[in-house]
């Protein structure tokens, strides 16, 4: 038993590479075409970064409105009050509902049975 092993001289970490490192274990792909899954993953990563940017803008607007000026340190120290945090939470839900709209609509289609396309409806209307 030892309290801890002694420290050795260290190479600096390659932080950028390590933060995105692959976990051990073969990655599952759910779509038939892995290219589709790759594009989905990239799209969601971009959606995440856009959300971060939007919330940073919201922080800046709040600071400007309440203090009339803003510094980077103010942004880092900013904590929304509970009512503001709830507004930001609601914005996330609205934002995600917009981004994933097609998923919602495909889900709703499950309860609609066999709906006609507009072309099919038009053909029928032309005969009525």
């Amino acid at each position: 038993m030892s309290e801890d092993r002694t420290s050795e001289a260290q190479e600096p970490l390659d932080v950028l590479r390590l933060t995105g490192a692959k976990a051990r274990g073969k990655r599952p792909y759910f779509f038939d075409d892995p290219d589709v899954e790759r594009v989905l993953a990239i799209t969601m990563a971009v959606a995440g970064e856009l959300a971060v940017l939007r919330q940073r803008l919201d922080t800046i607007e709040e600071l400007l409105e309440t203090r009339g000026a803003v510094t980077r340190a103010d942004i880092e120290a900013f904590e929304p009050d509970p009512a503001h945090a709830e507004r930001r939470g609601r914005w996330y839900q609205e934002y995600l509902a917009r981004i994933l709209r097609i998923v919602q609509q495909e889900s709703e289609a499950l309860d609609r049975g066999d709906e006609p396309t507009s072309e099919e409806a038009g053909a029928r209307l032309g005969k009525e």
């Binding site: 038993m1 801890d4 970490l13 692959k22 274990g25 939470g89 996330y92």
Partner: protein, 381 residues
Amino acid sequence: MLPETTHDQAERYNFLSHLNRHLAARVLPGVERAYRNEVAPRFQARRGREPADRHEARRALEGHSLYRTWSALRRNTMEMRQQAGLSVVLPQLPALVERARRTVPAGKLQLNDAVRTPRYLTAVDHHCMPGSYYAERVARDVSGAANYDSGLFVTTGGLLGRFADGGGHGMVAFVRKLRPGFAPRRILDLGCGLGHNVLPVAAAFPDARVTAVDVAAPMLRYGAARAASLGVGNVEFVQADATDLGQFEDASFDWVQSIMFLHETSLAALRRIMGESRRLVAPGGLVTHVEQPRYGVAMPFFEQAMRDWDALYNNEPFWTKLHEIDLDGLLVAAGFDRECLIHAGVYAIADNGGFPDAESEDVEDYGRKPAWRISGAQVPA
């Protein structure tokens, strides 16, 4: 001990929390309807019968594009969470390592280089955490634990409380009800990780000497420092393998417990863990192992298939197998009397200031809701 987050790093976590919530509340109900309206009827039409088990139900689901979409989004969210956490932790790692080293009180951390990382951890990285619990990226590393702690609420949505210790609080409430006046002098926690759940147990029994064991040194270094920083002084963090605890004498603990540990082991390990539980518990003592509820005959195959998702696609490889194992049988085989076995459910009790707790939360996210079962035994005096 929590790593510091910048404004944008905190928002990356918030985005992922809300994405997980959206997937559970808005997308998952569609998957259930897809199964009911399309997947199950097609299976019936093609095969002339219903799915015979959860594996057939899952394979049928995998053909549906909504299940594929939900799964692809969920897997990707797990991967994004890991990247987000490591991008918080790694740039400040030297400071975290130093803080942990300075904070751990003398004697509260016992590491042992001879402990090997078991195969059940090395086969795949659990929860898609690159490096799992045990990677040593730098000397005296705490990065895996800091990453785990920093982003845990993203996956659990606050259901475990702000200190992620709802399981521990739930166990304390259970034991106080089962055994009013129980005053254990020695408590052993197996597979403690960074000690989220053992701290409420230790705080509830301040006169007990608590030993928390795990194989992963980074978790123990961080956990010992975190316990000290939260003012819990009666836990020692010991690097040891729960399948082989020869350094402790027979009957040396009044309470042997684990919380959400068994599903990250293996069948062979499980047998030995039950054996060690029996050997180490003192006469009149208590053994409790908290785990996921077993898939009962009443649980529809759809729900079983969904609960298997984390096992198959979020690198919890033993999770689904554990549901097929008769834990009572293993306890009896380990030497516990069948009439002394404990069967009970337990909910996490979340101290969270604002988040809904598990009992009142109505969003089902199969397997992530902290409603568990206890397997164990009360040993005669």
